[in-house]
Amino acid sequence: MDKPFAITLDVGSSLANKTGSWRTSRPVYLDRLPPCNHACPAGENIQAWLFHAESGDYEAAWSALTEDNPLPAIMGRVCYHPCEGACNRGQLDEAVGINSVERFLGDEALKRGWKFTPPKTESGKRVLVVGAGPSGLSAAYHLRRRGHFVRIVEAGPFAGGMMRFGIPKYRLPREILDAEVRRILDLGVELVLNTKVTDILDTMREGRFDAAFLAVGAHIAKRAYIPAGEAARMLDAVSVLRAMEGGEKPMLGRRVVVYGGGNTALDVARTAKRLGASEAIIVYRRTREKMPAHDFEVEEALQEGVLIRWLSTIRNMADEGTLTVEKMALDATGFPQPTGEIETLEADSLVLALGQDVDLSLLNGVPGLTLKDGTVQVGPNMMTGYAGIFAGGDMVPSERTVTVGVGHGKKAARNIDAWLAGTVYAAPPKHELAAFDKLNTWYYSDAPKTVRPMLDIARRTSTFDEVVHGLDETNALFEARRCLSCGNCFECDNCYGVCPDNAVIKLGPGKRFEFNYDYCKGCGLCVSECPCGAIRMQAETI
């Protein structure tokens, strides 16, 4: 005993005292589903690619993005970005400009020539894709990446579908479209143009295809019966927009009336303005609130001088171009009812933009299909009633946007891949939603949204130059960094810092954290102070 006076025990560390035994509930790390990802029709993992963009690693961001969507430069221009509507930052200041960052990444990829990685092995399976629109291209991309031989057969003279024949140039420049299509074909996807599939089963047999994905779109303009004189000039929106892609521009005249309230109606009116019309008037039977067109498109059209007559229907069109328009009034259920009040409107041409139907003739003679309201019914796996034939895009019941089409293509590709292997694709279970109340927003710096520059009005109404411009690198970085990373750890070190018991182990960059349950007392400070809601308390089993 050579210890000092009154000392009987050796000095020890408090590490001997495992305070974890005090705990009645424990913190656990989890990934919650960010609302942007949840809202994305193409199933993009937005939070994940923004995470890479935040640190300026744009190539990694683009790679993460194109895991789900091979068309970011297109998507960054034409997508109606439901992600931004769902963005939690919208409740803080303004939603993150996800769409503009996506466009920046897409453009950056084209500028720098980033390519997709071709498949390492060939599966030996052959898949036929009918239609080279967003859905078909997306399916082809995902199938090819899984090693299958893919041939796209397209009835039109170019790839792109409605992205080329429906969306005007001022919203989607054609060199962007061509470049993103080219990048998919470079993976080894075969594209056959100017070939209409008339009998799907025949085509599959002849080409020895193991499966088919149909995405022929909806290209037949819906008509409404409008009595008209013989000389009256009445056209449909689909053929007007399609003609814009040919050498002969459509002759619409000085005064153009467009009938309908969807985005297509606005596209036609804005196109008419650019072709030199002094008046472009949209006639729509309901009110702006009820209009299916998106708000920003209405706003841009109004800025360009497009006029809109709300609550009006067209009764007839006389030879000399006089339209008879009847005023409507909304009834108690919000449905427009005629009032009997008549006005007239002078027009050199009337363009009907009343929606589109699907040409389903290629399906004649295919047994087991269910057709409803002019569309093909598919199961949750995108397969039609005929085994091995899948369908997506505008020809199945859907919202009919480019993004939905891309999403269908991806989903179908996964299911086709499983079907070819004789298995069933099982989607991983969805994480619980990272709702706003799961966040601790104190920790995010204040920063309003970056506004994308727009083309001058004068040039917008006289040329087909792109209206909305992209962000530059510094803007895009700023915008990406506005992301709250809802529900997914972004390694802010808060849990590691705020634990009074040093019970959080930092594993290093990219590796996140771990709890040391030997010492965690279960106070829950880490959960409260996690900015993004990536930790949850759960009761201990005692």
Binding site: L9, L15, T474, P500, N502, E529
Partner: protein, 328 residues
């Protein structure tokens, strides 16, 4: 040259930030931080003092290249960290009596000077009881002699270790074991207590600052600055006590944050007796946001609520905001 984008998502609000350069990051974000107060200590769940002590001493350790000795007053911090024969401290550490931490630290500093160890720096630390009441004479002596010691007070506003008795740092209306919430004037009496940071300033010592566990970067900056200068220095850190305040353990930082944002706990710095900087309130909140989370103020929120006392506390906060200039 275009203007640089200086936006880093969470900036310095979070403990770490992968978007910042490594030299811009906090001590607490460092994988190699010293964890001066190690795991296994017996502080309650969500203890603000344990957190504040690690924040402060880790920062001081980095600032002095680990050449640090800590002197501790009696109190929670001492009791929960060193039950014989264990210690949680990973720094040379000494405890003597309740009231003499400042005097012992003065002696340790003098001993280092005598031994020619100019690199070794000394910190004294204690709770509000050991600082503002029992150790106050020694503290004032250390200040007036301008001894080379940083004294850190972890203020949890009562004697928590012995069962939540009132101290001279207990705020008005707060219920403690010795100021029960009963009678015509429930809780601690208005107009009592003392403001030790202002008293420290009256000694014209080189540096006085207040800090909060809710603002890590501010706290680390102040401790680091204090370790870079000589003479008597004082930092007063607000550290919520879930047990004594009746707040939820997970709310410790939130409660501390609301004390700052309401104006009840002003963050400032003073050099030689003059206030030189204050940390602005980011988003002002009414004092009720702060008080409501704590059972020691529950008697103010009865049916009907004690409007007069709530108003009085709000006036204290408003006066702080005006006096210290806490809103830009």
């Amino acid at each position: 040259m275009d203007q640089l984008i200086k936006f880093y998502q969470t900036g310095t609000f979070t403990v770490g930030n992968r978007l910042l350069k490594s030299e811009q990051r906090s001590v607490q974000a460092d994988m190699e931080r010293t964890n001066s107060l190690n795991s296994g200590h017996r502080a309650c769940q969500g203890c603000g003092e344990a957190l504040g002590a690690r924040y402060a001493i880790d920062a001081a350790m980095r600032a002095t290249a680990n050449q640090l000795i800590a002197v501790n007053a009696t109190g929670c911090l001492e009791v929960f960290s060193t039950p014989y024969p264990e210690t949680s401290w990973q720094v040379p550490w000494i405890h003597s009596l309740f009231g003499n931490a400042a005097a012992v630290a003065s002696g340790v500093a003098a001993a280092q000077r005598a031994l020619g160890r100019s690199a070794v720096r000394v910190i004294a630390q204690g709770g509000d009881g050991g600082t503002t009441d029992i150790g106050f004479g020694c503290l004032s002596g250390m200040f007036e002699r301008n001894d080379d010691v940083l004294y850190i007070c972890y203020d949890n506003e009562a004697y928590m270790n012995t069962g939540v008795q009132r101290s001279s740092a207990t705020p008005p209306a707060a219920r403690t074991a010795t100021t029960p919430a009963m009678g015509p004037a429930p809780g601690n009496v208005f107009g009592t207590g003392k403001n030790v940071p202002l008293i420290a300033m009256a000694h014209r010592i080189p540096y006085v600052a207040t800090a909060s566990v809710a603002n890590l970067r501010d706290l680390e900056r102040k401790v680091t600055y204090a370790m870079g200068i000589e003479g008597a220095r004082y930092i007063h850190i607000h550290v919520p006590c879930p047990l004594g305040w009746g707040s939820a353990p997970e709310d410790t930082i939130k409660v501390a944050r609301l004390a700052v944002e309401s104006g009840l706990f002003p963050l400032f710095e003073a050099h030689h007796g003059e206030i030189t900087a204050r940390t602005s309130i980011r988003a002002k909140v009414p004092v009720t946001d702060y008080l409501k989370l704590q059972k020691r103020f529950a008697h103010l929120f009865g049916n009907p609520p004690d409007a007069a006392r709530l108003e009085h506390i709000q006036q204290i906060a408003d006066r702080n905001i005006a006096d210290f200039g806490l809103l830009h």
